[in-house]
């Protein structure tokens, strides 16, 4: 066999600092002499091509390592190929988050949706409001410092992965209110009952606080997009509060609290829009008729997802699908097959509507997940989403994909990532040994 001496890499454009939703990740790879060639338009395409190159080299009894004569032309079907990680229900160590970013890069996933805070804890250590994590984190070891976050963003950047942070409100904010009086005080029997509801839209101080917080967040996270959440707002506490009731009358909302939610979100999207950022939102924002910027990305998470996708794209918004990729639901057997069968273009719509679907996200919510099981629960099940979002639409037969799926799992195990067995009895040449 000829000895392959080098891989020549040619990138047409100057390197960009950070990847974006518009990044070109195409590449071509040719191995037909003692010098191989990897060509791409951008650095991000070169990173994808290097991953492919690493995967086609194999151990050979006679040659040590070998690669076959190969020609590849490759590009992603969708530009947003994400993973949601929830670090509020349980804290996830920085090292585990980095291992997950490495695992994402090895399947060409390119967005970490960092669901950093929620009701249960607020581990984001804010420069402007350090008191929130002091009171709202589980404890002071379970926080992400500014250095931690900068390190994660850089680790992701090196792998062509965007970090889109989510600060979900007005619901899912119990941990925020432990330090700052921004939540609605709930009443029963005409008196405050020491319980708190969603953020209080009737007070200007709520929005003054959000302006300062989102201004900081916009400067810390370089991606153009910030996820603003907006899902699952419970109206009961708003209904009980006399100040909120008076505000409803003043605003002419009657008793329709979805109008109050709409008012809140309108303020939030305007605040974030003023920072120059774009935003991603859960589908409820659109369901509730909030006016959003034209470049807003809407994430569909409810069933029936074909109808939801059709409705959101008909309104002209770019859309992500996550409904069928909630990896926190577990069952006995090969979960990956049902994830593999789900397709973001599975809805009735025009070609223009289909073009508005920019990708999707696997979601691993953290109620029963921490650093002990995040990697093995995420992988290899997230392989399905990676292939669905990268490969051609007709690459969809799980029986055909199964041997490659098995090989890729063993590749992860060999590289030190504890991806769990998903197809029943089997073995890897190199088993996990740690």
């Amino acid at each position: 066999a000829t000895l392959l001496k080098r891989l020549n890499v040619h990138i047409a454009q100057p390197c960009e600092q950070y990847p974006s939703l518009e990044s070109d990740e195409s590449y071509s790879l040719t191995i037909d002499s003692d010098s191989a060639m990897l060509e791409s338009v951008t650095i991000w395409g070169a990173l994808r091509g290097l991953e492919t190159f690493s995967q086609i080299i194999y151990a050979d009894d006679n040659l040590g390592f070998a690669v076959n004569n190969t020609m590849i032309n490759d590009f992603p079907r969708f530009k947003h190929r994400g993973i949601l990680v929830d670090t509020s229900r349980h804290f996830i160590s920085v090292k585990t988050l980095k291992m997950n970013l490495e695992a994402m890069a090895e399947s060409k996933l390119n967005v970490l949706h960092f669901h950093i805070v929620d009701d249960q804890s607020f581990p984001y250590e804010s420069r402007t409001f350090p008191e929130i994590s002091l009171a709202g984190a589980y404890n002071q070891a379970h926080v992400y410092s500014q250095d931690d976050i900068a390190g994660l963003i850089e680790f992701a950047r090196q792998r062509g992965i965007r970090v889109v942070v989510e600060f979900d409100s007005p619901g899912h904010t119990q941990s925020w209110g432990l330090a700052i009086d921004i939540l609605t005080h709930c009443y029963s029997g005409g008196k405050p009952n020491d319980e708190f509801g969603p953020m209080d839209p009737s007070r200007n101080t709520t929005f003054d606080f959000l302006k300062k917080l989102f201004s900081e967040v916009a400067s810390v996270f370089p991606d153009h997009y910030m996820h603003l959440g907006g899902d699952e707002v419970d109206f009961d506490c708003w209904r009980s509060n006399p100040d909120v009731q008076a505000f409803m009358l003043k605003m002419g909302f009657g008793t329709d609290y979805s109008l109050l939610e709409q008012y809140y979100m309108q303020n939030v999207v305007d605040i974030v829009g003023a920072t120059g950022k774009g935003y991603t939102v859960w589908q409820e924002i659109i369901d509730n008729n909030v006016t959003v910027k034209a470049d807003t990305v809407v994430e569909v998470w409810k069933d029936p997802y074909p109808q939801e996708l059709a409705r959101v794209t008909k309104l002209g918004y770019r859309t992500l699908l996550s409904t069928c990729w909630y990896l926190d639901y577990i069952s006995y057997g090969s979960d990956w097959v049902k994830y593999y069968m789900c397709d973001p273009h599975n809805f009735n719509g025009t070609d223009e509507q289909k073009k508005l679907v920019v990708g999707g996200e696997a979601c691993l919510w953290g109620e029963f997940v921490d650093a002990t099981n995040l990697i093995s629960r995420m992988w290899p099940r997230a392989f399905s989403i990676a292939e669905r979002l990268w490969s051609a639409a007709d690459v969809k037969d799980p029986a055909v994909a199964k041997p490659r799926f098995e090989e890729h799992r063993c590749r992860y195990v060999r590289r030190g990532i504890p991806a769990s067995p998903e197809n029943g009895p089997s073995y890897c040449d190199y088993e996990y040994n740690r």
């Binding site: 066999a1 000829t2 000895l3 392959l4 001496k5 080098r6 891989l7 020549n8 890499v9 040619h10 990138i11 100057p14 390197c15 060639m37 650095i43 070169a46 990173l47 290097l50 991953e51 492919t52 190159f53 690493s54 995967q55 080299i57 050979d60 006679n62 040659l63 040590g64 390592f65 070998a66 690669v67 076959n68 004569n69 190969t70 020609m71 590849i72 032309n73 490759d74 090292k95 490495e102 399947s107 950047r157 090196q158 392989f383 990676a386 292939e387 979002l389 990268w390 490969s391 051609a392 690459v395 994909a401 490659r404 799926f405 090989e407 060999r414 590289r415 030190g416 990532i417 190199y430």
Partner: protein, 80 residues
């Protein structure tokens, strides 16, 4: 590969790849940057020393004490 590339053509012709004789190169007419050179370092390790790769990037201090697994075939064996 996973995910499956849009188009891939292969033949049975093999090329040997050896850690002592293989280099990533930036084409002379191409752009280069720190992202690319650090990716070369990573992928060299992933290809030739996968079992120690993750420790190297997540725990560099621990990795210093790990012995690299040498390839079974020496470069001399491959000279012709």
């Amino acid at each position: 590969p996973w995910p499956k590339p849009q188009t891939i053509k292969t033949t049975s012709q093999q090329y040997a790849v050896h850690p002592s004789a293989f280099h990533f190169m930036v084409n002379s007419t191409s752009q280069s940057c720190d992202l690319l050179t650090s990716a070369f370092d990573r992928y060299y390790r992933i290809i030739f020393f996968p079992q120690t790769y993750l420790n190297h990037i997540l725990d560099p201090e621990l990795a210093k004490h790990e012995k690299q697994i040498e390839p079974k075939i020496s470069l001399a064996d491959l000279q012709d």
